[in-house]
């Protein structure tokens, strides 16, 4: 009798718990792939959607692909940001996620990132991704373009989640160089302690106090020259961000195809 009660209680706890967590995970009402422009066959859609779901679960960061016919009055970036925010995309409490938007009428493509994905998909990484999948998009090979995008997300998220490895040859070489330089400076000082015999270059200790009188002191401007150099392009390794209409911070960029 007691055992049975316990079982019931446990079942209820389990059920409530799964309901709560299930609810928390699925505040999104739409699937990860929304093909409103109807660019893919049903079969392609199913395959791609399950791929996106696998990646999203594995790295706890949602990867979504949205196709639309037109953007209305919004820019591609605004549309992508709003679609992400108002449809509840993003994994976990931070809504970590990346969304690819393709608009057929204006031939716009935009990436919007939020949360962890802002850090993972840096500006440089996004450029690299566009370089890989834009050609397929331009050729009308949508399935190939989207699966390439998904694979790239897989790759970049794997890298970002793994963090920096402890062993790195480059770091080893740089730290060895730092070590050698500092060791040379310190041993140089120690060597210097052994040497105390040197010529006195000047005779300033024998200058009579207050005997220095400056009679001529004249500074004459002659001419000036101006030279200019092109500004170096900033090659920052970070991610640029902006604020969407909902007030949340997004990363991302857009292109034409």
């Amino acid at each position: 009798m007691r055992k049975r009660n316990l079982l019931i209680v446990l079942t209820i706890i389990f059920w409530v718990a799964s309901l709560v967590t299930g609810f928390a995970a699925s505040d999104r009402e739409l699937p990860l792939l929304v093909d409103d422009a109807d660019l893919l066959t049903d079969n392609e859609e199913r395959t791609l959607n399950s791929k996106l779901e696998r990646i999203s679960e594995e790295y706890q960061c949602e990867v979504a692909i949205i196709t639309v016919n037109s953007l209305g009055s919004k820019t591609a970036t605004e549309y992508a940001d709003d679609f992400f925010d108002y449809n509840g995309y993003g994994y976990g409490s931070n809504d970590d996620g990346i969304l690819l938007l393709v608009s057929m009428k204006s031939r716009d493509v935009a990436i919007s990132t939020h949360g962890f994905a802002i850090r993972a998909f840096t500006d440089a990484k996004q450029d690299y991704m566009y370089d890989k999948f834009l050609p397929y998009l331009s050729n009308g090979n949508y399935n190939k373009a989207f699966s390439t995008f998904a694979d790239l997300c897989d790759e970049i998220l794997a890298e970002a989640r793994a963090g920096t490895p402890f062993l790195s040859g480059k770091r080893l070489i740089v730290s060895l160089i730092i070590g050698v330089i500092i060791a040379l400076i310190v041993t140089g000082i120690m060597k210097g302690q052994l040497k105390s015999v040197r010529y006195q270059p000047a005779a300033s200790s024998y200058l009579r106090n207050n005997s220095f009188s400056l009679k001529v002191s004249r500074d004459l401007y002659l001419y000036s020259r101006i030279s200019r150099q092109p500004k170096p392009k900033s090659s920052s390794s970070g991610s640029s961000t902006h604020t969407s209409s909902s007030g949340r911070t997004h990363g991302g960029s857009s292109r034409k195809f």
């Binding site: 060791a183 041993t187 302690q193 000047a202 200058l207 400056l214």
Partner: protein
């Protein structure tokens, strides 16, 4: 018709001949395209004409003749081994050469040298000199350990070293080329404006008793290293001050020592004037003319504690200022210890750097 004035100047930028173009009402150098105001060029040219070469003249009346009775109380010695010549008063028996530790022979009376004008008496005794050496060897991590134990510290000797002292008033006229740099930028370019200035400084200063070692047996760099001596404690020379100490005989004449004093005075003068040229990004000396006046020289004996030692077939000389206690002397290096320190520090600093780079997520 264009009338060119017959005025010719030297371009301050490239040195080419430039003329005034009355049509432009400006001066433009045909070689480097730099434009100048006429007033600027005139002032520059006048100053150029006032450049003169250095003049350094000294009157040397250092030292005086010994009187008979004084000279008879002083014995001269020579070292047959290194040729060092020393003097000592009749009550001080010199037995070993302070330079090479070999026995010295008395050659008799003092001859052929001048009587010093001043002497700074020994202020620190042998005990202080020994302490000085011990302190000098302390805390030097690359010094071979056995070097300390093998030193024959007892043989440290007090010796009066002959110095020529030079007084001088220095008059300087120095011209510098100086630049100021201003940078700003717009969206596409970084602009750098370099403004060139001609800067003149002139004036005088007085140096008193710049010492130059008058003995070839005493290495000049060693003697300069124990400087400075405080001349306010100097007294007129009396043979009594020699009691208990050796004195080196000078073998470099005053007029041969002048060039070293000149070098140092010139350097000091240049440094002092250069320190008055401020507010510029770069300053280079274009012409410097230093003129020395009323140079007089004096002959003085300065107190030095000296220790010569041979270790691993190398000679090491230590000297202590007998007045201030400043102790100098180059020391040998323990090569094995050097490599150990270099390797150990590289490994330790490298490991810390590696960890910091990892934690900062760099590379």
């Amino acid at each position: 018709m264009v009338i060119l004035e017959l005025l010719e100047f030297k371009c301050p930028s490239c040195g080419g001949a430039v003329g005034f173009d009355s049509r432009l009402q400006k001066v433009k150098c045909p070689y480097c395209d730099t434009e100048f105001e006429m007033e600027t060029l005139k002032a520059y040219d006048e100053a150029l004409k006032s450049d003169r070469p250095d003049e350094m003249k000294w009157e040397t009346q250092a030292g005086s003749q010994w009187d008979e009775s004084e000279a008879s109380k002083i014995n001269a010695y020579i070292c047959k081994s290194c040729g060092g010549e020393i003097v000592a008063d009749e009550n001080t028996a010199a037995t070993n050469c302070p330079f090479c530790n070999n026995p010295v022979v008395m050659t008799g009376r003092l001859s052929g040298v001048l009587r010093p004008d001043y002497v700074i008496p020994f202020k620190l005794d042998k005990k202080a000199a020994k302490e000085g050496l011990k302190k000098h060897l302390q805390g030097k991590k690359l010094l071979p350990k056995i070097f300390k134990d093998e030193n024959r510290i007892e043989e440290i000797k007090g010796i009066y070293v002959p110095f020529w002292l030079f007084d001088a008033d220095a008059y300087a006229n120095i011209r510098y080329k100086a630049t100021k740099v201003r940078t700003w930028s717009d969206n596409d370019y970084i602009y750098t404006q370099t403004s060139y200035y001609s800067v003149w400084r002139g004036g005088s200063l007085t140096f008193e008793r710049v010492p130059v070692d008058g003995s070839t047996k005493m290495p000049d760099d060693l003697m300069e290293s124990i400087e400075p001596y405080d001349f306010s404690e100097a007294v007129d020379f009396q043979t009594a001050y020699l009691a208990g100490y050796l004195a080196d005989k000078y073998d470099v004449k005053a007029d041969e020592s002048i060039s070293r004093a000149n070098e140092r005075i010139k350097r000091s003068t240049e440094e002092l004037f250069a320190s008055t040229v401020t507010g510029y990004a770069t300053v280079t000396t274009e012409s410097s003319n230093i003129h020395l006046q009323n140079g007089t020289a004096k002959y003085a004996l300065y107190p030095v504690w000296l220790l010569n030692t041979i270790w691993n077939n190398e000679r090491y000389t230590f000297a202590m200022n007998g007045q201030t206690g400043k102790f100098v002397g180059d020391l040998p290096m323990d090569k094995a210890a050097y490599w150990k320190w270099l390797g150990g520090l590289t490994a330790a600093v490298g490991a810390v750097a590696y960890l910091i780079l990892f934690l900062l997520n760099l590379l």
